[in-house]
Amino acid sequence: MDILLIINGEERQVAVQVGETLLEALRRLGYVGVKHGCEDGSCGVCAVLLDGQVIHACILLAVQAEGHAITTIEGIGTYDQPHPLQTSFVKTGAVQCGYCTPAMILTAKALLDENPHPTEAEVREALSGVLCRCTGYFKPVEAILRLAQGGG
């Protein structure tokens, strides 16, 4: 069936399968910054923003996103104009394998949009939905705090 998805500000008429998840649909459409790590919302690497809120694209059907504004990692920065969070992650050494990084950055963006000066505990809580096996979360938390405290 055809549905309307608003992806990174662009309205797209998209043909989706009935059981297709938003993760599958986004990746099929070329938004490969959205990653697959599990199928039950427990690892969080498929996080995207739906109307500014973090959701796990692997447990949302594409049809459920109809008419909503979806933000993927591709939508928040470019080589010429990276998002400050993207720059801060690079500068802080917060990227290792990078597989969970888009989810972490989008999660952090949702947090900072709501709460520009979070405490470390608030950052840690926000990131708790994204599993990372490389960084122990230390440098990603540092990258977010550095930016929030104006040092990014």
């Binding site: 910054g33 199928e39 039950d40 990227v95 394998c97 990078g98 597989y99 979360y137």
Partner: protein, 796 residues
């Protein structure tokens, strides 16, 4: 001519890096250079295996066994084949039966050849029964359901202790599996049996004032790389098979798969794109073989990706072990004899069984000076998912047991745990007595230790953690919480830097018009930052910036050989190759500049993008590049080099932990972790810290929460990320880490490894801290609330 390995001078020559640079003189090495590959990843650019989809791709799926041990009596795939959109269905009847090992290691393979792409027998819940390629993943799934299988159930072995019983079923009863003589005894369910001895055990124990014994148990755990195993195969325009895979070992994949697929190596190209974490789980051919088979049968591109459940039941894991230490201690507190008896299971297939467990011995017996050593190991087959390589490669098991054992001895002797260790740990000049016997399936190289920063690491660590608080009874009590006890624990650690005499890496470097450089190597950055580290090594030699080095890796067609990313070898071994190639290129640059500046090359140095003479005259690297490519005596400035090392250059580290134990619930909360590492010269301190952070987190899970649990019939009970607990960001303790660079002459710029050693220490440090807090000694991990609570109860 004498064999070079028998000539100490030649051994040194081939293993050393006389760089002549002091840390103060270095401009790129030792600096926090941002990852060269980070920007594309934070922008979400297509970089990983599954980020490119060739047109006409088919989707491959595997039918996994629901039984732990069974023979396939009948398999009917006619309904599956008849389903529209199904392009191939494979069973054991469609496969040329070539036994191989999925373990990606150097030739000759030290793991038994006990695996078929598809077999008529299944040996664990999750083992392969059949494979399907179809137009969509959904059709492939439907086809799996339509496959009819009749099994003859066989009794399974799930517990390690049951495998050697006289009436135990034989898991590998086939006639065509092979392995090292004496080591591999499949009729006894032994994937690997080995023992080695040095010195005089009897004399050693006779010298002892007291002899201590302890038995320790460590669980089977999972890598949980966030990117599952994923592979894409296709036939190119020359009818060559291209395997694009998230693999740590592209060259081993090519060599091992060629006979399995019955095509020559030269018809296979393996490309390693960006990897989303490996931790050893991708030092293994988990799906490449079946994916390639499906492509060869269908002539179509095939994509295969594991689900998270498949990762748990049908990928690889860390070997669970039962370790028994027997240690003799003299009256002065020095160790006189030590025996480690190891009992482990490799699960249903024997990949890495000899070498992981061998490494348990070669790390756990190498940290303390002792001339009289014995190591014995039995690695048995069971009907569990196979174990394999996992970050640390046997050392987390061995160092857990060793460091808890050391703590027990110190307590029995009434000594401070730090003091007891200090009395015994290895010193510069020491030769590990079992080095020759434990050479990863062949003869090893007994060379003296030439650098250690362990003493400094421990001194600084004790200061940072506040070790003296251990002696204060009041500190152990938490005000207002009478049921909570505080404690401090520590573990000293040793690891390796590559495998001496086996690991080899190659590198190729060429200079471009604009004085940028292409650097190509077979080493595989799996998220560790290796690409950046190797670029920094080249840049330091070439007097340019790291971002002027364009890295491409790894591709069996285009890059030199590298054994791959394992054994903490990339910086030490592959970095050695990059340094040598860069030094050759630097000589060529100086020769061109010498003519341009009319000054002898010996008077020139490379710095800040220029070639500078001692008299102050200079040309830019760009001018040299243009001169060499376009003006006079035109030639490509380029070099290819390779490196291997025979030297013993272990990194050292110390792990401290501060815990709070709730004596009512058994819950252990880790409040603080302090880690000090001697990794020699850190090439990139951000990278070293990143390795420490991730390694400690993994070891934290090993110590407290992670354990694959099986039912009696071999089903994994917690094969998902809800029930199998990996620590999350809001559960992490505070951490501190520091680097003590005891530079080693055999590493590039004095570097040793940093990748695996951080995975070795949190588990034993926590267990020792629990003892300090409560007086209860756990000898099994993970220290779940239930285990801690029961132990507290038992103590009363």
């Amino acid at each position: 001519m004498s064999h070079p390995y028998n000539d100490p001078d030649q051994m040194l020559k081939m293993s050393e890096h006389p760089d002549g640079l002091s840390p103060e003189e270095m401009r790129v090495v030792g600096k926090r250079v941002p990852r060269l590959d980070a920007m594309k990843l934070v922008l979400g650019k297509p970089a990983y295996t599954d980020d490119f989809t060739p047109p006409g791709v088919l989707h491959g799926k595997i039918l996994h066994s629901p039984h732990a041990h069974a023979r396939i009596k009948r398999i009917d795939v006619s309904k599956a084949r008849a389903l529209p959109g199904v392009r191939a269905v494979l069973t054991w009847q469609d496969i040329t039966p070539v036994r191989f090992t999925t373990a990606g290691q150097s030739h000759p393979l030290p793991s038994p050849l006990d695996t078929l792409v598809l077999d008529s027998k299944v040996r664990f819940v999750g083992d392969r029964v059949a494979a399907v390629a179809a137009d969509t993943p959904e059709i492939a799934e439907q086809a799996l359901v339509l496959i009819e299988v009749e099994y003859e159930l066989l009794p399974p072995i799930i517990e390690i202790e049951d495998a050697l019983k006289p009436d135990a079923p034989i898991i590998h009863d086939e006639k065509d599996c092979t392995g090292f003589k004496g080591v591999f005894q499949p009729r006894r369910n032994l994937a690997a049996h080995f023992s080695a001895e040095a010195g005089d055990l009897e004399k050693g124990y006779a010298e002892a004032y007291r002899v201590f014994e302890g038995e320790y148990r460590v669980p089977q755990v999972q890598h949980v790389a966030l990117e599952p195993h994923v592979c894409l195969t296709w036939l190119d325009e020359d009818n060559r098979l291209v395997i694009r895979s998230s693999t740590q070992v592209p060259f081993h994949v090519r060599r091992i798969l060629a006979p399995v697929l019955n095509i020559p190596d030269k018809r296979i190209r393996v490309i390693k794109p960006r990897i989303g974490g490996g931790f050893g789980g991708k030092q293994e051919i988990v799906i490449e073989d079946i994916c390639a088979y499906l492509t060869l049968i269908t002539n179509r591109p095939v994509r295969m990706e594991y689900s998270r459940e498949e990762e748990f039941i049908a990928a690889r894991s860390r070997h669970p072990q039962i370790l028994h230490f027997k240690t003799g201690v003299r009256r002065d507190g020095t160790i006189s004899a030590m025996t480690l008896s190891l009992f482990a299971t490799t699960g249903a297939y024997g990949g890495h069984s000899l070498t992981v467990q061998g490494n348990t011995g070669s790390k756990a017996l190498a940290l303390y000076r002792c001339p009289n050593l014995r190591f014995e190991m039995d690695v048995v087959y069971t009907n569990r998912p196979p174990a394999g390589a996992m970050r640390g490669y046997g050392a987390p098991q061995g160092l857990f047991a060793l460091e808890v054992h050391m703590d027990e001895i110190a307590a029995e002797l009434g000594m401070d745990p730090v003091e007891f260790r200090r009395k015994n740990w290895v010193q510069v000049g020491d030769v590990f007595a079992l080095a020759e016997a434990l050479g990863e399936g062949r003869k090893g190289f007994p060379n003296p230790l030439r650098s250690t920063g362990l003493a400094e690491c421990v001194a600084e660590g004790t200061r940072r953690i506040g070790w003296e608080r251990r002696c204060d009874p009041n500190w152990h009590i938490v005000p207002g919480k009478p049921h909570v006890r505080r404690g401090l624990g520590m573990a000293a650690l040793i690891h390796g830097s590559g495998i001496p005499g086996i690991d080899m890496g190659g590198a190729y470097l060429k200079m471009n018009d604009d004085a940028s450089f292409n650097l190509m190597f077979g080493a595989t950055d799996l998220g560790t930052g290796a690409d950046t580290v190797l670029a920094q090594i080249a840049a330091e030699v070439l007097g340019c910036r790291a971002e002027d080095v364009i890295v491409y890796a790894a591709d069996t067609d285009l890059t030199p050989f590298d054994k791959g990313a394992y054994a903490s070898s990339t910086t030490f071994v592959s970095g050695g190759a990059v340094k040598k190639a860069a030094e050759k290129v630097a000589v060529m640059i100086k020769n061109v500049a010498s003519r341009m500046l009319e000054t002898p090359p010996e008077t020139l140095r490379l710095e800040d993008g220029c070639v500078i003479s001692t008299n102050g005259e200079s040309v830019t690297l760009r001018e040299v590049a243009l001169e060499s490519l376009h003006v006079v005596d035109q030639h490509q400035i380029q070099a290819a080099e390779s490196h291997m090392s025979l030297m013993y250059a272990p990194p050292f580290a110390v792990q401290f932990a501060e815990v709070e134990v709730d004596t009512q619930t058994g819950e252990v909360r880790v409040k603080r972790l302090v880690f000090g590492i001697d990794c020699g010269q850190p090439i990139n301190p951000d990278g070293v810290e990143g390795q420490i952070d991730g390694g400690m987190s993994m070891s934290l899970g090993y110590g407290l929460s992670e354990e694959m649990l099986f039912s009696e019939d071999g089903r994994l009970l917690n094969g998902n990320l809800r029930d199998y607990h990996v620590f999350r960001s809001d559960e992490m303790p505070a951490i501190e880490r520091f680097i003590v660079p005891a530079r080693d002459p055999s590493g590039p710029f004095g570097a040793k490894a940093a990748a695996e050693i951080p995975t070795d220490g949190v588990a034993p440090a926590i267990i020792n801290a629990i003892y300090d807090a409560t007086g209860v000694r756990l000898r099994q991990i993970p220290a779940t609330p239930e285990r801690v609570w029961s132990a507290l109860k038992e103590k009363g």
